[in-house]
Amino acid sequence: MSDRPQDPDEPPPFLGTWRRVYTAILIYLCLIIGGFYLFTRAYR
């Protein structure tokens, strides 16, 4: 029933390791929340 290939755990195409990719996304989240906070304060 299955003709699926193997599932190799490849490294990400950028930043070298998945841990670094996850860290970059968390930093991005902090920046976006910070940006929205400043946006809210600037226009209230």
Binding site: R4, W18, I32, R44
Partner: protein, 573 residues
């Protein structure tokens, strides 16, 4: 709808179906029909995940939400990147290596058959209920806005979705989703540009943003904590994380998207694209709603955006005084707005504050008149808890947008409905065949048999969704409750998967009892407290994990289960 709108709408819909079916050629094995032979690239999965999550009502409601309440709804998505990272690190590699078709199939490998069956049934109940709503809600809004019969819009959407989902399987669903998301992105950008162009000549884009801020519509972050408030930074970060963990980690309609990836890496990239793109996209949609609000500061909006209900209450004796108050309130607000823009141009802070106060006083009059009109709708036989939020954006689109753009926005609504609905129908069919039919009814049949059964199951769930949507109006206010009902099941499913991934010693029986306890806790919170539904997932998950751990470590059968010994079952490291 003018001729050009019809051309844009029909061309969009036909191209979506044709392209989806073209890309789905060769879906003649179960593996290809249900999982696209695990061949999908990350960008197709990424857009498909986004399209499945963004239903039409999300799109229509979000702009309306921003119009009435500002942009704070964006905080609801703050937990999404965190949830995506956790899922990429845990669920994605485990599901891939376990070679499963459904998330619940994994539960049998890890626990036992009864846990898998319970999780599958919970999913079928929850997703089955929302499948009808996904079609019904936008069909209702479109029928009111366009004046088409409700059954026609329901049938059009349902028939289109069923056609390509039954014929092409998940490949058709995914490639159609890609096109649908492209149309949605295009529609959003064109809508925003058009709203800004339609503003009065004396009002610049900077003025519009300033006015939206002064009107309290750019409140993207609220730091005040309140258990009963759905949208603040805390409920978004904590409640949102648990909600999205449940949705992307335990709901087959999403899990199936990333199981189609050609590798773990591709599936992770598909999810992480959403982690990055989803919040800006929601911000963008909410910003459109805020700009529509600014537009209506200068052009008088109708007292109610639901024209049919407005026409129904107009002969009522109470209506005229209400309408007079509303007209006067609008004129006062318009004057205050113009004076505010003038003060802003001159940099006169004192005048700005004075005019802002006058603006808010006039806004209160308008809000009061709208609230009284809504109550009048209820008293005169209309829907209980009537709200016209979902009609604001489409009412604006059909009245003020030029020919061609209206067709494009209507195509966006159709596209969003079809993408969300096809994902639901496809996943419901998959669970029905893989977790119920193949597991309990007909074991060991040929691949061809299961492909055929999958097509029939897809057709069944598609017809079910259309019929349920057709009954939507008869259900009345209950249909609103159905939306909440969806959130009543996620917490226990999430708890089950947390146990599967993170607690090796917990066995099937402890998890099964934990899930029942979790459901009891969520229903108690729903029935006896006012806690926002975003917290149900946290509560349900905590109760499932706590109960299962208590049974495992304190119960009489304090022994390790056999899960770790199951051949081929990967264990979290």
């Amino acid at each position: 709808m003018r001729l050009l709108d019809w051309i844009v709408l029909v061309t969009s819909l036909v191209s979506i179906i044709a392209y989806g079916l073209y890309r789905s050629r060769g879906s003649n094995t179960v593996d290809r029909y249900l999982l696209a032979g695990r061949s999908m690239p990350w960008y197709a999965m990424a857009l498909s995940i986004m399209a499945t999550q963004a239903s039409a009502i999300t799109f229509i409601s979000t702009t309306g939400q921003s119009y009435v309440d500002g942009m704070r709804f964006v905080q609801f998505y703050f937990g999404l990147p965190i949830a995506m990272i956790i899922i990429c690190a845990t669920a994605v590699p485990l599901f891939h290596r376990a070679k499963v078709y459904t998330a619940y199939e994994y539960l049998e490998k890890r626990f036992d058959g009864k846990t898998r069956a319970l999780a599958s049934l919970i999913f079928l109940c929850q997703r089955g209920l929302s499948a009808g709503l996904t079609i019904y809600a936008p069909a209702l809004v479109l029928s009111v806005i366009l004046g088409w019969p409700e059954h026609l819009t329901t049938f059009l959407m349902g028939a289109t979705v069923i056609t390509y989902t039954v014929l092409g399987g998940i490949k058709a669903v995914t490639w159609s989703d890609v096109q649908q998301m492209c149309i949605i992105f295009l529609g959003l950008v064109v809508s925003l540009i058009t709203v800004i162009v339609l503003l009065p000549k004396t009002v610049t884009f900077g003025d519009a943003v300033f006015l939206a801020g002064a009107a309290g519509r750019l409140n993207a972050v609220t730091t005040t904590f309140n258990w009963n408030d759905r949208f603040n930074i805390w409920s978004g970060l904590f409640g949102g994380t648990f909600l999205f963990l449940s949705y992307f980690g335990c709901d087959q309609s999403q899990v199936q998207r990333y199981l189609t990836g050609r590798s773990i890496s591709q599936s992770r990239l598909g999810l992480l694209f959403n982690a990055v793109a989803k919040i800006p996209m929601q911000f963008f949609i909410l910003f459109i709603g805020a700009m529509v609000f600014v537009f209506y500061l200068f052009i008088q909006p109708p007292l109610l955006f639901q024209h049919a209900e407005l026409a129904r209450i107009q002969p009522h004796a109470e209506f005229q005084p209400l309408a007079d108050n509303y007209n006067q309130g609008f004129e006062r607000r318009r004057q205050a707005t113009l004076a505010l823009v003038e003060a802003h141009h001159q940099g006169d802070r004192a005048a700005e504050q004075r005019q802002t106060a006058q603006y808010h006083a006039a806004q209160q009059e308008i809000d009061q008149a709208r609230t009284q009109a809504a109550r009048l709708v209820e008293r005169s036989g209309g829907e209980k808890g009537f709200s016209d939020t979902n009609y604001i954006f489409l009412s604006f689109v059909t009245k003020y947008l030029p020919a061609g753009i209206v067709g494009l926005v209507i195509a966006v609504i159709f596209a969003a409905t079809m993408s969300a609905s096809s994902g639901e129908i496809n996943s419901l069919a998959t669970v029905t065949i893989v977790d119920i039919y193949r597991r309990h009814v007909q074991r060991g049949r040929s691949d061809h048999h299961y492909v055929l059964a999958s097509r029939w199951a897809t057709l069944f769930w598609g017809v079910y969704a259309v019929v349920f949507a057709g009954w939507g109006k008869r259900l009345g206010p209950l249909i609103v409750a159905v939306n909440v009902v969806g959130s009543l099941f996620y917490g226990s499913l999430l708890g089950c998967f947390v146990l599967a991934f993170g607690f090796r010693k917990v066995g099937g029986t402890a998890t099964f009892v934990g899930m029942l306890a979790g459901e009891a806790a969520i229903f108690s919170a729903f029935l006896f407290t006012n806690i926002s539904w975003l917290w149900y997932n946290v509560l349900g998950c905590a109760v499932v994990v706590g109960t299962a751990l208590a049974i495992t470590y304190l119960g009489p059968a304090n022994a390790a289960p056999a899960a770790a010994a199951i051949e081929g079952t990967p264990q979290p490291g």
